[in-house]
Symmetry: C2
DNA sequence: CTTGACACTCCCCTTGGGGCAGGGCTTATA
DNA sequence: TATAAGCCCTGCCCCAAGGGGAGTGTCAAG
């Protein structure tokens, strides 16, 4: 039997934390004095605590740790795998951010300008050409694009058609949420009459964004404010066309994305 | 002039966030209607917002972003570098955790045992040999070890002495805090009489921990509870000796650390 | 009997907002 | 003309994982 202070030293955890875990029911002391409220711990608590710390290190939230500790082996195995994938995704994201930061720092050293924004975006008004596409509309998050584009390309291959070199995504909701939005992915095909649909010619404000996708919002902002200031208004769902993207073997800073906003002259 | 809702769509940021930023003084609207309280934004706010989002992506806390935006170029440059190092450290940490998770998952698949703990630690009682060491005592965090060990080895080289193959750290505070504790690093030298001091022979409970340092707490816990249960008590500062460590080119899972707890028989 | 080391509960604080209640303003529609 | 729909506002409580401190109770030693 250890008092809370002793026990905290053994597990290298603060007393506060032990009391907190007791409170949320994650690690109950083996006994509590009814009159003084003193908590007493023993060996089995120690083992549980070490496991908790380990899982915490793997990034599990405490609530899930509690569930895992009282759950079965299968769930535990699955949770480990899921967490592995999550950490892996985090690692990729972190590396992307690091590259962006480096690029930004270099640009800053060159130009002395805190932000090289809004100088690069040349915005044009164009009438788009009609494009016959295979498309797939669905509610999805930003990290699902890859999966669904693969589906599209498989379908095209299965039907013996030829991709036409235009790959893009259309945003059907006003507010875009990385986690989940209503999105339509499309890939152009040469065989016009066998396509799912055709993107009709539209008057669009458009620009080209160079760099990783995480900075697309800058181009987006530039376009939206251009539209406002030049007396147009939005008229339909905007879309991106990926000229050079994640699948090419270029570095993220050399990717190229065209952004199209259907517009009409304001009344 | 944009209303808050419009502006939120332009920057792809929630209205709530805009109000919050206004509240903490990070991004003030260009004007606020005195009677209705309506916030109005314009172009310059847009640029500032994009920069804020960029810095947020790099991991800066909002408060620091505010300071950077009103600070000078030099500070900005330094902050970028600092943040780069921080992200880099995070990446390394994340990779370590991933390796640990993989090792753990494999062990789990093999043994079917959620935790292969407390089976591995063979605890022994020994009388240590005296060791002549160069040492450096200081309040430091866990990530400073490398730096200070380098200092020690440089001193040894400068004085023309020969390292004796024992590298370790002694913990002078009861509660260990990764961030900052009173720690004494030591490296043994062959030239006994020119050493800083000698680790005197002591009766110690000891064990060997195999694996990354992050799981040292398990060995530590095993030792502390062994001491309690076998009628001993702690008698002095415990220390680690790194047999195979971060500087070797072994994978973390093959590192070996000896842990020593000076003890005496309880009265 | 007192002192010091420990223990307890209770409350407020952190980051970066999300969610909801309750209310004000303007405009489009029945 | 009434009302409903969109905007907008403030103010309150909520999240995770505890940290810090106030005020008070308990235990063993001198």
């Amino acid at each position: 039997m250890y008092q809370i202070g002793e026990f905290s030293k053994i597990c290298q955890v603060s007393v506060k934390t032990l009391r907190y875990y007791d409170g949320i029911g994650l690690l109950k002391p083996s006994s509590v004095d009814r009159f003084t409220g003193y908590r007493y711990y023993d060996r089995s608590q120690l083992e549980r605590m070490l496991l908790i710390q380990k899982l915490k290190r793997y990034g599990f939230p405490l609530e899930e740790i509690g569930a895992l500790l009282s759950g079965g082996e299968g769930a535990f195995r699955r949770a480990l795998r899921r967490q592995r994938d999550k950490l892996e995704a985090q690692r990729v994201e972190l590396e992307t951010i690091l590259q962006e930061l480096d690029a930004q720092a270099q640009a800053f050293e060159r130009t002395g300008n805190i932000m090289d924004i809004s100088n690069g975006y040349e915005i044009k008004l164009t009438e788009t050409e009609p494009v016959a596409v295979f498309s797939l509309r669905k509610r999805m998050g930003a990290e699902d694009y890859g999966k669904y584009f693969s589906e599209l390309y498989e379908r095209i291959a299965k039907e013996g058609l030829t991709p036409g070199g235009v790959t893009g995504a259309m945003y059907h909701e006003e507010e875009y949420d990385r986690e989940s939005s209503e999105i339509e992915l499309f890939v152009s095909v040469r065989e016009t009459e066998r396509a799912d649909k055709t993107l009709e010619p539209r008057l669009c404000a458009t620009t080209v964004h160079k760099g990783a996708y995480s900075t697309l919002n800058e181009a987006y902002a530039a376009l939206v404010s251009w539209i406002e200031e030049n007396g147009y208004e939005r008229d339909g769902a905007p879309y991106d066309v990926y000229r050079q993207g994640a699948w090419s073997n270029l570095a993220p800073k050399d990717w190229e994305t065209e952004i199209y906003f259907p517009v009409r002259k304001k009344a």
